[in-house]
Amino acid sequence: MRAVLLRLAGALPTLCGVVVVTFLLTRVLPGDTATYFAGPTASAESIAQIKASLGLDRPLPEQFWRYGVALVHGDLGMSLTTGQPVRAEIIARLPASAELTLCALILAIGIAVPLGVAAAVRQGSWIDHICRVVATAGVSLPVFFTGLLLVYVFYFRLGWMPAPLGRLDAFATPPHAVTGFFLIDALLARDLVTARAALAQIVLPATTLALFALAPIARITRASMLAVLGSEFIRTARASGLSGPTVVVTYALRNALLPVVTVLGMVFSFLLGANVLVEKVFAWPGIGSYAVEALIASDFAPVQGFVLTMAVLYVLLNLGIDLLNRAIDPRARRGA
């Protein structure tokens, strides 16, 4: 527990850095918010007025102070297009994004880790070649394009999947919100029909994202399994006559997972970015599509709120990865 708190404290400077960068993006860069708010026909006078009302005429340190104070109160500003506080909208839309990303991550790990292990155990076999093709091709996929391809094949051609229009089709009612994850909430409500419908909607976007995240995970799993399988303690395990599964899973895989867990940080960076594109393709009502809509309307507060939220989430995810690493590796536990 103490270790967790220590790590949290260690993440504080990073969080401060994130806040500073987001502030710089909002206030200091040449994009002139006030001119924008005022609209194209505004006079210099009204621009100045808006500047004053937004506090943009104050010195920078003061602006930063106000920005920080607002953040501490959870105030991310108002959306111009919807007239709603950005914080409320992001909180309302976050579960949709989280459900999609988590499903994709689970799917990706579920395929990539066994694939990488099999490729390493049977080095040079057909499964090894598949793994290498997947690893190189996967990182080359533009997610927005693979998403469209899947829609064309599985919705338009085969008709196996529903139209790519959000989390549930228009006639279904969302389940009573407990976690905000439709799949879980529908199951909690024992509403199998809704659960099925939600599952049908999430399959394609989650697969699209997973295809993208698969590649780095499979690549690193294969490489680190190969390294571990060649190591001395695996030779000891074999010399002790331990069974094949024990050697591969208990001895090799657990050690090989350490680099895989580390790489998850990079995978999350990719996933959160790709999530934005996939949400646009599948009209998924998450925070990514919220940010894209705001971007197109040049509505800045939601975009900044979104960037900040994602960055904070990412810092927390990296923290989680760090803790997971400690759970697996006793050296990290005792060393710190």
Binding site: S231, E232, F233, R235, T236, A237, R238, A239, S240, G241, L242, S243, G244, T246, T250, Y251, R254, N255, L258, I328, D329, P330, R331, R334
Partner: protein, 324 residues
């Protein structure tokens, strides 16, 4: 038979080849020896002489590029070289066990040492899930680790090299094997720990009648610990005899060189001679003739004939056409 003991392992004509980019490397050529119950046989030679390859071939642990091209290795009545891999996995750890140099790297870095012993016990030793932990602690106590209940929870990085080698020995003897192969077990340990580890191996062997193969480049260590010594050079066995005979009256020129190159308590460093020349290239087609000829000062025309081990005296064999 003369030997009062029964043979635990009898290796006959063992040949191993490695497929490499540069061609087929004949790493072992017709190697043979026997080890009796309770005996310690030392395989001595420079690195690359084929000592470890011999052990790995017997264990069925050759890397994928390596292949046994001939010979038999009888463990009791079982020819290990003809045993299918699945059956070998049951024999390893139960009837033959092995310990390695660099013990800390030879243990799983993220598994508590007690669990690593329990894994072997569960597989071979007849332990059950409920008593595996206690038996692992017992095994740690048996190899002289103080406070074994606490140490069972330790990870290799928390133990000294000597402690790790004790754990390795505990793992190896957990299932009371008939044969222990110790591959450079003291390399990398400090001198006092070396003695302790070797004493421990000796005690384990005496207690259970276990045979030991000691693989080492250190002739002095072999002289101190082994009943018999087999000298290897470039994949050939060149001489085999009981320790006292071999040291007192070596017949092979290479053995004589090795003895001359080994510092003893009596000799001084000034009289130390190194063995001249390097190992020959083993990629050439069947090298059935003497592989030491290129380094040998006693070389003569007869040395180009096919080489075999021949008795030089009762219990003393040498592979040389012009022995000392």
């Amino acid at each position: 038979m003369m030997a009062p003991t029964t043979d635990v392992l009898r290796v006959e004509d063992l040949s191993v080849a490695f497929q490499t980019r540069g061609g087929l490397v004949r790493a072992l050529d017709r190697v043979g020896f026997t080890v009796g119950a309770g005996q310690t046989m030392a395989l001595v030679g420079e690195s690359g002489s084929g000592k470890s390859v011999t052990a790995y071939a017997v264990m069925g642990l050759l890397e994928t590029a390596g292949r046994v091209t001939g010979g038999r290795a009888f463990l009791g009545q079982t020819d290990l070289l003809a045993t299918p891999p699945r059956t070998m996995a049951r024999i390893r750890g139960r009837r033959i066990a092995m310990i390695f140099q660099n013990p800390r790297a030879a243990l799983n870095p993220i598994r508590a040492v007690g669990k690593q012993i329990a894994d072997v016990l569960l597989r071979h030793g007849g332990a059950t899930r409920s008593n595996a932990r206690d038996r692992a602690i017992e095994a740690l106590r048996a190899v002289g680790i103080p406070d074994p209940a606490r140490r069972a929870k330790a990870y290799p990085f928390e133990l000294s090299g000597g402690m790790c080698q004790r754990v390795m020995i505990a793992i190896a003897v957990a299932a009371r094997p008939d044969l222990l192969i110790a591959d450079e077990p003291t390399t990398g340990l400090d001198v006092t720990t070396q003695a302790v580890v070797m004493d421990l191996i000796g005690a384990m062997a005496r207690g259970s009648g276990m045979a030991t193969i000691l693989i080492t480049h250190d002739l002095a260590l072999a002289a101190e610990r082994a009943n018999r010594i087999a000298v290897m050079h470039a994949g050939h066995m060149v001489e085999e005899a009981d320790t006292a005979t071999l040291l007192a009256r070596p017949r092979h020129p290479y053995t004589a060189r090795l003895i001359a190159a080994t510092p003893t308590a009596a000799g001084s460093l000034a009289s130390l001679q190194s063995v001249p020349g390097g190992l020959p290239d083993l990629r050439q087609a069947d090298r059935l003739h003497c592989r030491y000829a290129g380094r040998c000062e006693r070389r003569q025309d007869a040395c180009d004939a096919v080489l075999t081990m021949r008795p030089a005296a009762p219990g003393h064999a040498v592979a040389c056409w012009n022995p000392l």
